[in-house]
Symmetry: C2
Subunit: 500 residues, 2 copies
């Protein structure tokens, strides 16, 4: 029995002269008991071995059959019985601006970054997973193609395609390379980490030449990658990091993004990440915006603007890095980076971490991985815990363009307020009404917990408040004494309605 959302692998013997991997060698059509069909591309896995991987969404009886122009691969049939899921399933967009697993469990991304991690030797490869898992990160951004350029101290021997006469032959993938990639993704899954797979690479800079593949070669590689990885539930697709570093017309990205949406049988999350020019994330192939812009989270009232224009989840996948290099993108203090994550949070967005202290090898953690040295990671693990403890599906700005306190949450449910770099001695109860959702009423009762985001403390039940003054735009508990706050800045308030 196969649990739902786990990976079923069908293996077939095909021709000894392999079908070029730039053509889909076979498709397996999976059909559930209600007649719903999934067309799942297979892939060549070396020698005469051909594989189809599928992760059925639902329990029950499934039938499958293969379709191929190659007689050896055509017309195979079988069935499988799928039992109840043992995991939460792949992550999807939920509630407009947020994420949840297939079973409805909210997923709150607090991601890490190690672009060139896949291409590192042991023990660095495993140390990276250990360090990000220990810190509490639940997503990792890494690239399939190797990175070249600054801070790259390791050039891998294992590369994705065979090289013929100095040209990459995308029809002949290097199977050990892709098995290593398979293992990387499944190892992350075992540690509870989503694999944010960066498909193309703007940092080749002509060194390896994977940035000079034609659009047709890109498509062949994409089809192969999707056929290999799509059945792993923890896959997210990111077309490219800093896509606009590559001199390509936007339409080429539009087409490859649309192709990805078209061919992925499991419909994983899809994004593209910018350098200086934002992508048109209104396009239908984009499931969520993946944005670089550090300044959007240095103060209130900015990142939330991205939500409005795209009406999709916004993940600020690059808000600069904690580190000590001269580049201004790489020398945030831990305090600054943690502050930015909390701003992102109450903006109704998500953010990703990166660390840029120079490592002993001369590289950076956000390039090669390894142990984390900064002050931010465990505070971000703490933030993740706060997010996972929320009783609401996601935090949305309550009064999006008019709340001077930038309170986020679900109206008349639960709220999070972040006081940022102000350090008031006390806080008087006030909530915005907002324009969406339930309206606050006199008599509503709220418990307030006080969170010290830097010292990682939660004072639960610090105060209970009863609304006694509900106005058009705000609600107050005038009769209550103000809440005393801990000294220092970066304090947050979790405000939860008490329902009998």
């Amino acid at each position: 029995m196969t649990p739902a959302h786990s990976t079923v692998e069908l293996v077939f013997d095909g021709p000894a002269m392999p079908i070029p991997a730039d053509r889909t060698p076979l498709v397996a059509i999976f059909r559930d008991g209600d007649g719903r069909e999934y067309r799942v591309p297979g892939f060549w896995d070396g020698g005469g071995r051909y594989v189809v991987r599928f992760a059925p969404e639902r329990e029950g009886e499934w039938a499958w059959r293969t379709d191929s122009a190659e007689p050896l691969l055509d017309g195979h049939e079988g069935s499988l019985t799928v039992s109840a899921a043992t995991g939460a399933g792949p992550v999807r967009v939920a509630h407009g601006y947020h994420f949840a697993h297939a079973d409805g469990t909210p997923f709150r991304p607090v991601g890490a970054t190690a672009y060139n991690w896949l291409h590192q030797d042991e023990p660095l490869f495993s140390e990276t997973i250990d360090s990000i898992a220990a810190a509490g990160f639940n997503k990792l951004r890494f690239m399939v193609f190797p990175q070249a350029g600054g801070y790259i101290e390791h050039f891998p021997a294992l590369l994705p395609f065979e090289n013929t006469d100095g040209m990459w032959d995308v029809a002949r993938p290097v199977i050990p390379f892709f098995r290593r990639l398979d293992a990387a993704v499944t190892t992350l899954a075992e540690r509870g980490i989503q694999a944010d797979v960066l498909i193309f690479n703007a940092y080749d800079r002509g060194y390896f030449g994977f940035d000079r593949l034609t659009e047709e070669q890109d498509a062949a590689y994409l089809r192969y990658l999707v056929a290999r990885l799509s059945a792993y539930p923890n896959v997210w697709w990111s077309l490219c990091n800093e896509f606009d570093q590559l001199e390509r017309p936007a339409e080429r990205w539009d087409r490859v993004g649309a192709l990805l949406a078209d061919i992925d049988p499991h419909q994983h999350l899809r994004s593209i990440h910018n350098w200086e020019d934002l992508y048109d994330n209104n396009q239908s192939w984009v499931t969520h915006a993946s944005v670089q812009n550090g300044s959007a989270t240095t103060d209130f009232g900015r990142a939330n603007l991205y939500r409005d224009v795209w009406q999709k989840p916004v993940v600020l996948d690059e808000i600069k890095y904690e580190g000590d290099i001269p580049d201004r993108w790489g020398h945030l203090t831990g305090r600054e980076l943690v502050h930015q994550f909390w701003i992102a949070t109450v903006s109704g967005c998500y953010a990703s971490h990166g660390e840029s202290f120079v490592t002993p090898s001369g590289s950076l953690h956000m390039v090669e991985g390894g142990p984390l040295r900064g002050e931010a990671p465990r505070r971000l693990g703490f933030l993740r815990g706060i997010l996972d403890d929320l009783v609401v599906a996601g935090l949305d700005p309550i009064d999006k363009w008019d709340d001077p306190a930038y309170v986020a949450g679900v109206a008349r449910g639960q709220y999070l307020q972040y006081l940022g770099s102000s350090a008031p001695a006390e806080w008087s109860f006030r909530l915005p009404q907002g324009t969406l959702g339930a309206r606050l009423e006199v008599g509503d009762v709220f418990d307030v917990d006080v969170i010290d985001t830097w010292n990682m403390t939660v004072q639960s039940g610090a105060g209970r408040f009863v609304l006694d003054d509900v106005q058009r735009n705000d609600a107050y508990a005038r009769a209550a004494a103000p809440l005393e706050l801990p000294a220092g800045e970066a304090v947050a308030l979790r405000i939860t309605r008490v329902v009998d």
Copy 2:
């Protein structure tokens, strides 16, 4: 002789039984000496009168002929000699984020708003034009359809269509209504004011019923409106104010916007203005974003984010109003509104004004017009003068996500810095390098003018500075003494490179 960019009117006698105005009764094909053709729709103007209006772009010899299914209107021919333009011509998008007239003269919109102006009687109608012209505004937003709802104290007798059995007959426009509209647009032109024509109306609220026309009726009206007004050079099209107050699928707006782009022979500027949900301004029919969001201009680092996502000019056509009503959109102080305009300016955007003091009739200026009473208008006229005096085509954020001073301009040309609500006693010379355009060099010389945005003074040549320390991200004149600033907040600096 007809000067280029002026309105040529061809008049024809057509059938006594008029061709319904929801069909284009005739088209005139205008052809210039190089063989370029313009297909210009004509319109019914009452009785047996049919009119074609055209504004030729270029001087020279033009020929025209008519094409119509109606024999009386078909096959007319003629020619005209077009002389050099006497005006600057219609406004178009220029330099990516800015505007310029057809002759290249920059146009810097500093707009006013009187939604229901068209429907007012004299002397209010003319007083409105006088007051906004005197204040220095160069654009006016007003609606073709009458407004209903709050603060509406006047319901017009003259309405756009004949009413048959309680239904609006868009095939039978009321000619005196549209002649009044013609006159309104041309009168604004005579005063140097762009007519930002709001085509559909979200404020009908079922009172008149123009918000319940079908999509086909909307299209018929749009074709008629474009045929009448397009040859007036000062026309801008705005599909709707607060479009999302109307419960319509976004696709209906997409289609009517695309139709407008398709049928307008003069290709005027096109936008749509939001209430709570931003429109997808990435769509190709949109020439510039017309945004409502007051909070985008209350602090630095926000409005510029809209530029990045749309890569088009951004006009903040509603940033709340100077006034005294209880609604929070209508009780800004003059200082707050002027501050917001300057924030918009150094964000590389433009803004529009509105005034919401209750008028003697019980209405508001932003509804019915009339004399302006606020403190903002003449300061905005002063701002317009500063913009018109710029020697660069437009102000772009120089170092868009990384400049703590939010300096805008053209690199190594001219810059504007706004100190906002800070009130420093002095200012030490510093410019950002930015990532685009020319790089600053040691020895570059700049003159700095000090602008008091509230007291409307310009201290020209307040200081001359020579760069002596040029770094990767910033440039300084270390040897120079700081510039003393006038007391108080809201000071701006105009920094212009001196070239021998």
